[in-house]
Point group: C2
Chain length 196, copies 2
């Protein structure tokens, strides 16, 4: 399996360079993930859990630096065009099951965000069934907001929003080898009060 993300942090402020570099800088010292940054995005390759928590924590760090900050990310696993990579295979502790992973306690990050995401299970004619099932599952989450054209809105603590992303991605991956999830997360938008 190959699993990773291309993600970007967009701080809407004149000091955007400091916010971006300060947030992604610590990734260079990690040996459990592979990281490549260019002018458009940062690639993180690793286990699904490592990939999601890394992006969440980088974005949380950018949010703590203040102002209006947006995250845009594409998460992908199982793309047939990418080579298998041992770095992407989770080490399962003895006795671990998918359901224990799903019910793990999420620690709040105290960062309020609005988000929208889309799920693309590829290569199977029944992909809409998977999408509808995952939307139904997301509606049970406290951070579910509403459906929009082409995506689903969430609203709440950053940790809860990422818990939905991770669960959706893992659950869809049981139906098809190649799953893509795209997400936009926004903190501190001045138009948040008027929005949807």
């Amino acid at each position: 399996m190959f699993c990773g993300t291309q993600f970007s942090i967009y701080p809407m402020s004149d000091d955007f360079v400091d916010v971006i570099l300060g947030s992604i800088g610590p990734l260079q010292h990690r040996d459990d993930i592979r990281v490549e940054t260019d002018d458009l995005s940062t690639l993180v390759v690793g286990t699904p859990n490592a990939v999601f928590t890394t992006v969440r924590d980088v974005y949380a760090e950018a949010c703590r630096r203040g102002g209006h900050v947006v995250l845009s990310a594409t998460f992908s696993r199982g793309c047939p065009g990418e080579p298998d990579d041992p770095m992407c295979v989770p080490e399962k502790p003895a006795g671990a099951t998918a359901s224990t992973a799903q019910t793990e306690v999420v620690t709040p990050l105290a960062i309020d965000v609005a988000a929208q995401y889309s799920l693309y299970p590829l290569g199977i004619p029944s992909y809409m069934d998977v999408i509808y099932r995952e939307i139904a599952e997301a509606k049970k989450a406290a951070c579910y907001d509403r459906g929009k054209n082409f995506c689903t809105r969430l609203k709440g603590d950053l940790s809860d929003v990422f818990a939905v992303f991770g669960r959706t991605f893992e659950s869809a991956a049981r139906e098809t080898g190649h799953v893509v999830l795209t997400a936009t997360v926004s903190k501190g938008s001045p138009s948040q009060k008027q929005g949807g």
Copy 2:
């Protein structure tokens, strides 16, 4: 058919509100597209051509206001979850063919950008063949840059970059009813010189 986009403009500057509102404001006066904006993105529904040219022109206007500005967009057509909409059906002039549309002259906008995009043809087991074919086609374009994990990089005039997006989207739509293309376009990044 239903065709549209959710797109966002991210100006990396303190006056981001003015740049965003100044760029998307004129959309409210159009009657050939449907437009809805919230705090996360702007929806545009219309013919494929109207959708792509609208997003391109809004982003061009934001770029002209200066600084580092990023566009993030998800283009979608034929989603089974969306109702058919007459607004999305192109009016074909007599004698028009797909090939004449593909060879139309693209007027340069004199805005240099870097971009990356991903194509998701949904619901068909042969989707990777479509993706590989479209990447091979994109390599013929002068603005082709290189492949990255999960996406393809372009570099050049904004008009040429959008010509590749539009051609890719239209061509993939001949293989499956539901096609999604996600794109990131960046102008004025201070790290562009060091990037990939």
